[in-house]
């Protein structure tokens, strides 16, 4: 939770962040309120097996407000899902019994693939706890993988849809240097002064380089996100790169751009997906400032957590809409102008990086989207017996 965002007169909403549990949201003053989209109590789920299947399931279930993952366990203390659980602040257990006997678990999901596990689980659970194991858990694993592939596809589709809006910016940035090249080349046809010929030939070469750079940036951006999920990403450079791409989608001429970067900070994640997140946030911010304004990009590192804030001085988001902005297919843009998937995908990417995203908005004064990435080192596991 970001603590330095004022809440006095603005509307402030976190996305369904990993720290949320059971569909509740914790306000800054400690008061809890129910999220309006969560009418029923969360299903309490225990995950048995923290290999690839358990890890993927944890990632997926953790994003659902209707599910509370009460813990995960594995015989292998080095299982990847245990590490992921610590990053997400989900309790990990060394002993199966400690997990399933103490938490009024509604559902046990067994992803161990161990044929004997079903019998063990039935012995240790009451009749009120459902158990999902064997072929059913294999089916579940297939569904989780399918869901993961769909999310990647959705992200790419939304990115390509966004590139459609780049047409005006690309045309502007391509046709201006082309005009210079054409005009100078025509002049060179009958230019006799050798110094002028050299100067203008040099200008043509530079204009061609600028045009080439536009093509390079765009082809790089439009490619499918690489599968590298754990690259070390220099945040400041990625924000600058996003600004360069965003200017094709939105005109920045009337925007005062302020940067406040803490040097040399990095996070782990997928660089292509993070670039897409930043492009979307910057584009949204500029679109909110119809008649110009200030776009502020800030990066800070506080107690090991990396924070990125994208702020605008635009129209702001009204209180009745702000709760819905991270929902899929929700958009306030006219038909054909927005997919409604931008902020939904942003939320998914950030959560996949184990971060959180929050928004604070004031009507007529602007909005701030604040992303917090956790420290790299795992936090201390409170539930693991010492």
């Amino acid at each position: 939770m970001i603590s330095d965002l004022p809440t006095s007169d603005g509307t402030r909403v976190p996305s369904a962040a990993p720290s949320d549990t059971a569909g509740h949201r914790s306000d800054q003053d400690g008061q809890e309120r129910m999220a309006s989209v969560m009418p029923t109590p969360a299903t309490r789920v225990a995950i048995i097996g923290a290999g690839r299947g358990g890890t993927a399931l944890l990632d997926l279930l953790h994003q659902l407000r209707t599910i509370e993952v009460v813990g995960i366990t594995d015989r292998d203390p080095a299982a990847p899902g245990l590490q992921r659980a610590r990053e997400l602040h989900v309790p990990t257990y060394e002993r199966l019994a400690d997990l399933i006997s103490n938490h009024r678990v509604n559902l046990v999901m067994d992803l161990t693939g161990d044929p004997g596990m079903d019998r063990i689980l039935r012995e240790q659970t009451s009749g009120e706890t459902d158990i999902l194991s064997g072929p059913a858990s294999r089916l579940l694993w297939d569904l989780v993988r399918h869901e993961s592939a769909l999310q990647a596809e959705l992200l790419h589709s939304e990115k390509l849809a966004g590139i459609g809006s780049f047409a005006a910016g690309i045309a502007h940035d391509m046709n201006n240097p082309l005009q210079l090249i054409l005009g100078l080349a025509e002049n060179l046809l009958d230019e006799c002064d050798i110094e002028t010929v050299h100067d203008q030939a040099r200008d043509i070469v530079e204009a061609v380089k600028r045009t080439t750079a536009i093509c390079r940036d765009l082809t790089s951006y439009s490619r499918r996100a690489s599968s590298q999920q754990n690259s070390l990403i220099a945040i400041n450079g990625k924000l600058d790169e996003a600004l360069k791409i965003a200017r094709y989608a939105v005109a920045l001429q009337d925007i005062d751009i302020r940067k406040s970067y803490q040097p040399d900070i990095a996070v782990k994640g997928n660089p292509d997906e993070l670039l897409h997140v930043f492009v979307n946030l910057i584009t949204n911010a500029v679109q909110a400032m119809d008649h110009g304004g200030t776009l502020t990009l800030e990066t800070t590192e506080v107690q090991g957590a990396t924070r990125v804030r994208v702020s605008d001085t635009g129209c702001g988001i009204s209180a009745d809409l702000i709760d819905r902005i991270f929902e899929p297919f929700f958009t306030t843009k006219p038909p054909g102008k927005g997919t409604g998937l931008g902020l939904y995908n942003i939320k998914n990417v950030i959560h996949h990086m184990h971060g959180t995203i929050e928004v604070e908005s004031h009507i007529g004064r602007g909005s701030t989207f604040a992303i917090t990435f956790p420290r790299e080192a795992p936090t201390e596991d409170r539930s693991r017996p010492s």
Partner: protein
């Protein structure tokens, strides 16, 4: 006072007319100036709509400016706003749009508003000069 001053003398040289190029890109202003200057025009530059309005309202320009060539996508006062201002306050000064982004609806709308030509970058020098020459004819007709 006769508003039309085409064919006047600038610095002792014969001048076909005075043209204002409004574009936020210095490269575009440079190349338009180069092309039109060789064709005998006196060329003024403005980097956005606000500067263009200042230019046309300053000194002798309100009388001597013959043609305005205007981009659309610009900071401060954009091309659409600037063109609306020129049409309202200087209806006899012909306007040419020179834009990097072809937009049929916008072109139709601007031509209906009386813009002489809607050119899309990159435009060849001969085409630009022909367009300016047509605008100059319109400028002369406006004074008959």
């Amino acid at each position: 006072m006769d508003e039309f001053k085409s064919g006047f003398f600038v610095g002792g040289e014969s001048c076909n007319g005075r043209v204002l190029i409004v574009d936020d890109e210095p490269d575009i202003r440079k190349v338009v100036r180069l092309t039109l200057h060789k064709a005998g025009y006196d060329v003024l530059e403005a980097e956005n709509g606000a500067k263009a309005i200042d230019t046309i309202n300053s000194g002798e320009n309100r009388l001597l400016l013959d043609v305005i060539i205007c981009d659309i996508r610009m900071p401060k006062v954009n091309g659409i706003e600037a063109i609306a201002y020129f049409r309202k306050n200087y209806p006899r000064v012909p306007l040419i749009v020179l834009t990097g982004f072809p937009d049929t609806d916008m072109a139709t709308s601007l031509l209906r508003q009386g813009v002489v030509d809607y050119l899309v970058k990159p435009v060849e020098g001969d085409k630009l000069k022909a367009s300016v020459a047509r605008a100059m004819e319109q400028r002369e007709l406006a004074h008959l």
